[in-house]
């Protein structure tokens, strides 16, 4: 396990290097002068030159890159031209709504997806299986912003059950109100993932149900319930765990879209506002942060496998 851990950690170095280099170059290869773009059309050449100097744009690119990476390690993630506070404070404040929304989404997707997938596998080939599979295909095909709009139209505008947009923090408004406001964005965001989880659960359950040891279990008289839950589900869990872990990551990225629909002041709103205002360093910091979280999630998933399944670490 130690050897595997070390190997896995070392393999992170090139990935992190490429991620940071790509994000760095993205902003620095802007066609035209980024300083001019930041200041807008009315800026005088002197102002642009001064900004270039303060931002260090006149230094060679490798030097700028090293300085930027060094800053990242010291906790200096850049400065926003429009907002107060350090970058990490700005991001931290916007992080919470996004994380809350992501948790609701992943929770919804898992709680609905896993049982439906199991049901489809147990009743393999029946009309119920077909209905569930069709439902998951629809889920996969509905982009989150579309699902969000449908939910708003149906649940908020027509039925008036839940609020159509806004964010209420737990601290100020309490749990119940918070969840009422989070439900629709969470479901919209988690719907695609639910479709994927149904698919994955169904196919990995089916694969295991057809294994020899399942026939063996049946032959020796294990009850159906014990067969499905103890023998099949436990073995299918690795596959399911992967999809759930990956869905967490795609929800973090996808939250950008649902936050716009539901007017939630999260990372997505922050990014889009920054894009509109050409506040490039904010865009850079958010993209970097979410990518780092992605890399971290993948690492945790890999280590979990290695713990569960010895074949992974011995390979």
């Amino acid at each position: 396990m130690h050897k595997y851990l070390l190997k896995r950690l070392l393999s992170l170095i090139p990935v992190l290097f490429v991620v940071s280099l790509a994000i760095f170059l993205l902003i620095h290869l802007v066609p035209g002068d980024p300083a001019a773009a930041i200041l807008g059309e009315e800026a005088s050449p002197e102002q642009i030159a001064a900004l270039r100097e303060t931002l260090g744009f006149n230094d060679p690119l490798p030097l700028q890159y090293l300085r930027w990476v060094g800053g990242l390690f010291r906790g200096d993630w850049g400065t926003s031209f429009f907002m107060e506070g350090t970058m990490l404070e700005i991001i931290g404040a916007h992080m919470i709504p996004t994380l809350q929304q992501t948790l609701v989404a992943v929770g919804f997707a898992t709680l609905i997806g896993v049982p439906l997938g199991m049901l489809a596998a147990i009743r393999h080939g029946s009309p119920l299986d077909r209905i569930i599979s069709a439902f998951s295909s629809v889920g996969i095909s509905l982009p989150s912003f579309l699902m969000g709009l449908c939910l708003v139209l149906l649940i908020s505008v027509k039925l008036r059950w839940l609020p159509s947009s806004g964010y209420k923090s737990i601290a100020d408004f309490g749990w119940q109100t918070h969840i009422r406001y989070m439900l629709l964005p969470g479901i919209a965001l988690g719907f695609i993932e639910m479709g994927l989880i149904i698919r994955m659960t169904r196919s990995s359950m089916l694969e295991i149900l057809s294994a020899d040891y399942m026939r063996m279990a049946k032959a020796k008289g294990v009850s159906r319930r014990r067969m499905f839950f103890r023998h099949a589900l436990m073995n299918a869990l690795i596959g399911i765990l992967t999809v759930v872990g990956l869905s967490f990551i795609s929800c973090l990225g996808g939250a950008i879209v649902t936050e716009t629909i539901f007017n939630i002041p999260g990372l997505g709103k922050l990014t889009l506002n920054a894009v509109m205002r050409r506040d490039y360093e904010v865009v850079q910091a958010v993209v970097l942060l979410v990518s780092l979280m992605n890399v971290l999630c993948t690492l945790i998933l890999d280590l979990l496998y290695a713990l569960i399944d010895p074949r992974v670490r011995l390979n």
């Binding site: 090139p14 990935v15 996969i140 982009p143 449908c150 879209v257 993209v287």
Partner: protein, 300 residues
């Protein structure tokens, strides 16, 4: 040592036989295609979309940009507005038909572009060990950036335009394509006939493009069809967020963004473009599933 040679008669008989086999293979593939209900249904939806896109000027009842302020928010079914009108009195049906054009152009160009470059990277990475590590680490790094964020960041620096959307999406899909081409190519490369070709002195270029590339096409085409579906979603999302196809030009995403603001009084602005998007994505997805069952049965 005697030299191994074929008479010209043998040669022509061999190539005739080869052509026969290929024809037979194609016939079998076609039959499998038409037996696969999913693939056919998906193909019909895609065909309909392509026809809409190509013949948009003939099919659209009105100019998608023509404003008639008197008919603002005309309800669906109003004279001349089968699906209603938007806040500037533009015919929604025409805008959706022209929106299909944008979706198809983005879908086709970005999936083809990423397929081409992904294959080049994947094939050369598989063939030349020296560049393999470097290329694959770059792909790992790029795919660690969530795709929608990468697309938004690219659009932010490039500026809004149809061409830039295609460019950004291609960049997003190239790493996946490269990885899939590479792993498919690695399997082919281990086959004995590749070794035989090498010992005969075939050039690397010839082996890569004439003998490995055609054999990885099934896996690559299946992935391209999924990229196509994803490109439709992502383009619509980008335009919805206001960083995709710029405003007067109709795209399903920016029609939906306008619809979102008037969702309480003009449901048709959301429902119809939404249906179009969902149908297009579903069609491409089930087409891809069917295609995978036919071309690449092992991965399923």
């Amino acid at each position: 040592m005697t030299e191994f040679s074929l008479s010209s008669a043998d040669r022509s008989r061999l190539s005739e036989r080869r052509r026969e086999l290929l024809r037979e293979q194609r016939r079998l593939n076609l039959r499998r295609f038409f037996r696969n209900g999913h693939a056919v249904a998906g193909a019909l939806i895609i065909l309909a979309m392509v026809l809409l896109a190509v013949f948009a000027p003939l099919l659209a009842p009105a100019d998608p940009l023509a404003q008639t302020v008197a008919n603002r928010f005309a309800k669906p079914g109003t004279e001349g507005y089968l699906l209603g009108a938007d806040k500037l009195g533009r015919a929604l049906l025409s805008r959706i038909i022209y929106g299909a054009r944008v979706s198809m152009i983005v879908g086709v160009s970005s999936s083809l572009c990423s397929m081409l470059f992904g294959m080049i990277i994947g094939l050369y990475a598989c063939y030349y060990k020296a560049i393999d590590n470097v290329l694959m680490r770059i792909c790992d790094g790029l795919s660690a950036i969530p795709s929608i964020l990468l697309a938004i960041a690219l659009m932010a620096v490039l500026g809004q335009s149809l061409v830039n959307v295609i460019f950004a999406l291609s960049i997003v899909y190239i790493p996946r394509m490269a990885r899939i081409s590479r792993s498919a190519a690695l399997v082919v490369k281990e086959q004995t006939y590749i070794e035989a070709l090498r010992s005969q002195g075939a050039s690397s270029f010839r082996i890569i493009w004439r003998h490995i590339a055609p054999n990885i096409l099934p896996a690559v085409v299946v992935q391209a069809s999924f990229n196509f579906a994803d490109a439709i979603i992502t383009e619509a999302s980008l335009s919805f967020l206001g960083v995709g196809v710029p405003a007067p030009q109709p795209s399903w995403g920016n029609i939906l963004a306008e619809g979102r603001e008037v969702i309480t009084k003009a449901w048709w602005m959301v429902v119809y473009p939404g249906l179009a998007t969902a149908l297009a994505v579903m069609g491409t997805n089930i087409f891809g599933d069917g295609l995978r069952d036919i071309l690449d049965p092992h991965t399923n």
